[in-house]
Amino acid sequence: MKRVLSSVVTVVISFCLVAGFSPVSAAKAENIKVGAILAVTGGASFLGGPEARTLEMMVEAINAKGGINGNKIDLIIKDSGANPEKAISFTKQLIEEEKVFAIIGPSTSGETMKIKNIVEEAKMILLSCAAAEVIVNPVAKYVFKTPQKDSHAVQKIYGTMKDLGISKIAVLTGNTGFGNAGKGQLEKIAPEFGIDILASEVYDKKATDLSAVVAKLMANKDIQAVVNWSIVPAQGILAKNMRQAGWDVPLFQSHGFGNIKYVEVGGAAAEGIIFPAGRLLIANSLPEDNPQKQLLVRYLIDYETKYPEDKVSTFGGHAYDALTILVAAIEKVGLDKEKVRDAIENLQGVAGTAGVFNFSPQDHNGLDINSFEMLTVKDGKFAIYHK
């Protein structure tokens, strides 16, 4: 009996604790609550970390300027650690308890796909920072995404290959959602460009040595180029292993290479890597009349001033775009959720870090292939790729 009593006490105490932890809701009626579900820790923290930092920085700046039309933003960041079950729990929490205006995130495609139905049912605006095309194809009424399409990246890469006269390639992908989606697109689009995939390998995302597989592929003299679709650290390790082995065919990477830190750890081996990316990475060398230039340079300077430890990355940019789009829509039509959704769907010519967004009821991504630029690494820096 004593045990039962102590159990009850424990339960009651923990509930009181929870009640104490919960932020007091509806204290400031004028504020716009924006929820964010990001993988700040865990296997996708290279995405969630910069995204969370970017959002915090932006909200601080917006509120310091007096908010959107006088309404300040309350940002609620929930760290899902890339666990779908947590993302689901947090989504319901944000919708019902916090009664947020819109949700930014999640960072990964797997999580986004799991909460897609929930936000549809609750008529909640979701601006996903994940890349997979299934998020917006088929179109769900309330779901938008800010990263560029994988298929556009693939088309850019294959286009460049065509220019270089390359037609026989090897494809390497990491076993993440990102790598998987990229592999699918690479295989699907290859025939359109007359490209032959001679070898295709999937490796673990935490692989620390790829020299054995490089040796294997290198033995096939027909391979004219390698495409690698993954995230750190494997993309740097592959570059090193290839160059150490003396294999000097062109190495193409995905838009997941968009952080100068990867170049730093890749060192000399990163030289000459060709990859598609948004223009954020070469903001300073853009011509003055580029519609994105001003915004990119500002984001870059703001981010690196506020977080001197970190370097700006295209991943943080996805969160930047999500909030920018939301703010643009709210500025236009005020604080009515349905109207804001309609407004997002009709936004035209909004410059973001990933490109210039032109949404439509059929396109909830709003970016075209021109949002990508082919970049290369030159003297340890990103530069626009010229043949």
Binding site: F46, T208, A212, A215, K240, G266, G267, A270
Partner: protein, 301 residues
């Protein structure tokens, strides 16, 4: 599929990849063994020593030349090893195996989380000791990064040094005495508790050295520990728990199997090999390839 043919160069290339990894697994396995021998504990946080060594050294290179940074990092990791033993292990009176497993798992999680919140999620690397990322030397027609030779050299030296230490120094002999029979050793005036601390210091130290030499090749990040620990444990079991020389052989074996597996298996299965070997060996020969079942039977698992 004509490129599957094994040329001599390809063979050497695979072999070196295998040896590099094998020797690192062996070092982790020896770390397991040193602690296991003196305490009967499997330290699930062994991989975290490697991570801490590498990450600390990378931070230190900002303030001092690299050799000094590595030395400092190894020292710091050794101190952390000692602290872990003193805070979490030393004062427990004959704890159950279950309790020790859970405690060391907890330590591993804590070390990882501490690293995440100190260093962030990004991947880092020490610079190459000689040359840079693309330098290579040609050995028998295969191109090998000089860092690979560093890893193999330093790790071999450590293995040799350790066996000399255990054989010829009085401290090493005392540690072995504790491993053989703790009570008898205590009766002979050996402070068994200090030997346990020393074993944590040693195994943290060799882990940290391995973490530093491998960092340029494999990079370091906060979550590199568990993977290494599982491979290291597989190797320790494969060689027979507690047997360090056998661990070297087993480590090389696993590393080479993994490297050559690439030529026949899809790369995606490479990591499953170690786990499958682990399960197989546990089911069939839990005393290891090189151990005798009789000796294993005397030990308490």
């Amino acid at each position: 599929m004509q490129y599957l043919r094994m040329t001599p160069e390809l063979f050497i290339q695979y072999l070196f990849a295998g040896i590099t990894y094998g020797i690192i697994y062996a070092i982790v396995a020896i770390g397991f063994n040193i602690i296991y021998n003196t305490t009967g504990i499997i330290n699930f946080a062994q991989g975290e020593f490697v991570m801490l060594g590498g990450m600390t050294a990378i931070t230190m290179t900002a303030f001092m030349p690299m050799p000094l940074a590595i030395a400092v990092a190894v020292l710091i990791t050794m101190v952390i090893g000692a602290l872990i033993e003193m805070v979490f292990i030393r004062w427990l009176e004959s704890p159950s195996v279950l309790r020790m497993i859970i405690i060391t798992i907890g330590i591993s999680i804590l070390a990882r989380e501490a690293a995440l919140h100190t260093w962030g999620e990004s991947v880092r690397a020490l610079p190459y000791f000689i040359g840079n990322e693309v330098t290579s030397v040609t050995i028998l027609g295969a191109k090998i990064s000089p860092q690979v030779l560093w890893v193999i050299g330093v790790c071999s030296l450590m293995v040799a040094g350790l066996s000399l230490f255990f054989k010829f120094t009085s401290l090493g002999r005392e540690m072995r005495a504790c491993a053989a029979n703790r009570r008898a050793a205590t009766l002979c005036g050996i402070n068994a508790k200090n030997m346990v601390t020393l074993s944590f210091v040693l195994s943290a130290g060799i882990g940290a050295v391995a973490g530093c030499v491998m960092s340029p090749i494999t990079y370091s990040d906060y979550e590199m520990g568990p993977n290494l620990a599982i491979k290291g444990f597989t190797v320790a079991i494969l060689g027979g728990l507690g047997n360090s020389l056998a661990a070297v052989a087993a480590g090389l074996l696993l590393g080479i199997i993994e490297a050559f597996s690439v030529s026949v298996l899809p790369l995606a299965f490479q990591d499953a090999i170690a786990t499958s070997i682990l399960l197989l060996i546990l089911f069939v020969r839990p005393h290891g390839l090189f151990g005798s079942s009789e000796a294993a039977g005397l030990k308490e698992f």
